[in-house]
């Protein structure tokens, strides 16, 4: 009897915490999303589903922009991360853990502060652009901040380690003997890469995509610090509705739509790649 109860007693405190503060709030957010009213007179539940239509129509651009930035950022992180992960896994030798620590270095600086540092670096009169302007390489009104390049660059920077690590883990598991065997059988580098190494590393890429696309798409810190009015993402809108305008129903409807869109996206992604692949990747 005691053995049967034990796991439940151990799970209970943490499990309750997760249910009460993760699952229950979603129900409340769903409820808020169909309410009407304002912060002065209070909000009343009217089951107004039109909140969703209003929010979607009004902020269609920001939704699409977020998806576009998320996609561009994810593709860029793959392009940057794969060769690095490959090099550390196959050529890192005894220094592997040192290289991994270097990859993780940015995490020892607060996310906001890292982004602010990029703002320092890219500032119109900052240490990168001012010298270039002084010697006349770029025009005096040239700027990087407040552009798409700055925002997507910031997103790519902030989430790059999340792509390097899972790809590295997958590559690390590739048995070098298999690759050697392919060379012994007169395979070229290209053939053994595309037919052996790449397929074996794909679960790592899938995991990396999950770990970067979702947070990138819902990010608002990069757009707010590095971007301008033309770079507003859906996260900025939700943050403003909740914390500045106190229009909670609009904010809730937008967050719900964002969450639903992401869940559908992940589902389609999982279907397209085979559920086992994604689940296996996610389980790590």
């Amino acid at each position: 009897m005691r053995r049967k109860i034990a796991p439940y007693l151990l799970i209970l405190p943490g499990g309750l915490w997760l249910v009460i503060f993760l699952v229950v709030p979603l129900v409340f957010m769903a409820s808020v999303s169909t309410q009407e009213g304002d912060v002065v007179n209070g909000f009343v539940q009217t089951f107004r589903l039109a909140n969703f239509a209003d929010a979607l129509l009004q902020y269609k651009t920001q939704f699409l922009r977020s998806a576009g930035y998320g996609l561009a950022g994810t593709l860029l992180t793959i392009a940057l991360a794969y060769p690095v992960a490959y090099w550390i896994a196959f050529k890192g030798g005894a220094r592997k853990s040192t290289y991994l620590l270097l990859v993780l270095l940015p995490f020892f600086v607060s996310f906001v502060l890292r982004t602010v540092s990029w703002k320092f670096l890219l500032a119109d009169d900052g240490i990168l652009l001012q010298p270039l302007k002084d010697i006349g390489l770029v025009p005096a009104d040239f700027h990087v901040l407040q552009t798409t390049v700055a925002v997507v660059g910031g997103l790519t920077y902030n989430y790059l380690p999340f792509m390097i690590l899972p790809i590295y883990v997958a590559l690390e598991r590739v048995d070098p003997r298999v690759v050697e065997a392919s060379y012994d059988l007169y395979s070229t580098w290209r053939d053994s890469f595309t037919k052996i190494v790449l397929p074996l590393s794909l679960p790592g890429v899938f995991a990396g995509v999950l770990m970067t696309f979702v947070p990138m798409t819902s990010d608002y810190v990069n757009a707010s610090i590095l971007g301008g009015p033309a770079n507003t993402m859906i996260g900025n809108i939700i943050q403003t509705e909740y914390l500045v305008n106190n229009d909670y129903p609009a904010g809730a409807a937008l967050s719900f739509t964002l969450m639903a869109a992401m869940l559908i996206g992940i589902f389609v992604y999982a279907k397209a790649l085979g559920t086992e692949n994604v689940l296996e990747a996610a389980a790590r």
Binding site: I11, G15, V23, P83, L105, V116, L121, W189, P215, S224
Partner: protein, 287 residues
């Protein structure tokens, strides 16, 4: 150092270079490919380090204006004036005490969960794993927005305690996963031996099991602390009038971030790196 969108080479170019042809040329071309890959890796690593270097350097900048972006000479003076902004000091102490409190609660809850998940098979295990996965993978924005919806609906005043509550929420699963990994890897025969020698369940746990899972608990706690002290998005939604270090920086961006922030960031960075290095070295010695 390069900007965010200027990698050394597109990866396709690298792949082409490393492609060897069969025959005498093969070895030399592979070496060339290795060298390119090595260079590419270092360019990316330097890019990762660029803003950190800027952060450290500008803590020593003798800036005269509010915006600390152009280099105006080296100085130590800001180190003596760390306390110039009382609300910044409050924000940092808030961040530290919230992180300590959240880590304490998270470590206890997460360790219990990790033991249950690693040791027992029980009904609801799959559901627990699913909820934990959801907690790890759901966007911070949605977590923050839904928590704020809950607090608004129930009339709960957001502030210090709601931040702690939220931090426990997003880090408890990480601790549980870390501890579970350790528990699964345990050699059960050692505990059996303790019991055979007459130790009670309680004694066996504290004298045998716990010391063996302790490394997992410690790394879980460190992770929880790091997640808490760094968090911005969920904190912003649940903070009310309370300010933490990341929130203060975010608020200061428009008016100009003072060098004190760079110094505090540098100190946190140094402590974090030191702990990570010690942790890697000791765990290497242990194995």
């Amino acid at each position: 150092m390069s900007g965010p969108l200027s990698p050394a080479l597109p990866p396709q170019a690298v792949a082409d270079e490393v492609t060897p042809s069969v025959g005498p040329l093969r070895r030399r071309r592979v070496r060339w490919g290795d060298r390119l890959l090595f260079g590419y890796t270092w360019v990316v690593l330097l890019w990762l380090f660029a803003p950190i270097a800027v952060m450290i350097a500008f803590g020593f900048n003798d800036t005269k204006s509010k915006s600390n972006v152009s280099w105006q000479g080296f100085t130590f003076k800001w180190w003596g004036r760390l306390g110039d902004y009382p609300d910044l000091t409050t924000a940092v102490t808030n961040s530290l005490s919230i992180a300590l409190l959240a880590t304490l609660v998270t470590t206890v809850l997460g360790t219990l969960m990790g033991i249950a998940l690693g040791r027992y098979r029980f009904r609801g295990q799959a559901a627990t794993n699913l909820v934990m996965f959801a907690a790890i993978s759901s966007p911070e924005l949605v977590m923050g927005a839904s928590l704020l919806s809950l607090f608004i609906s129930l009339g709960v005043q957001t502030g210090y305690m709601t931040i702690v509550l939220a931090h426990v929420l997003f880090s408890v699963s990480f601790v549980a996963v870390t501890v579970r990994a350790r528990v699964v890897g345990l050699d059960g025969s050692i505990e059996e031996a303790a019991r055979d020698l007459g130790a009670s369940t309680w004694i066996t746990f504290w004298r045998v099991t716990f010391p063996m899972i302790l490394p997992g608990v410690v790394s879980g706690a460190l992770l929880a602390f790091a997640l808490s002290i760094d968090d911005f998005v969920i904190t912003q939604f649940t903070s009310g009038a309370t300010i933490t270090f990341p929130l203060w920086i975010y608020g200061a961006v428009r008016i100009g971030v003072p060098p004190q922030v760079n110094i505090l960031g540098t100190l946190i960075f140094a402590v974090g790196v030191a702990i990570a290095v010690v942790n890697t070295v000791t765990s290497r010695r242990r194995t």
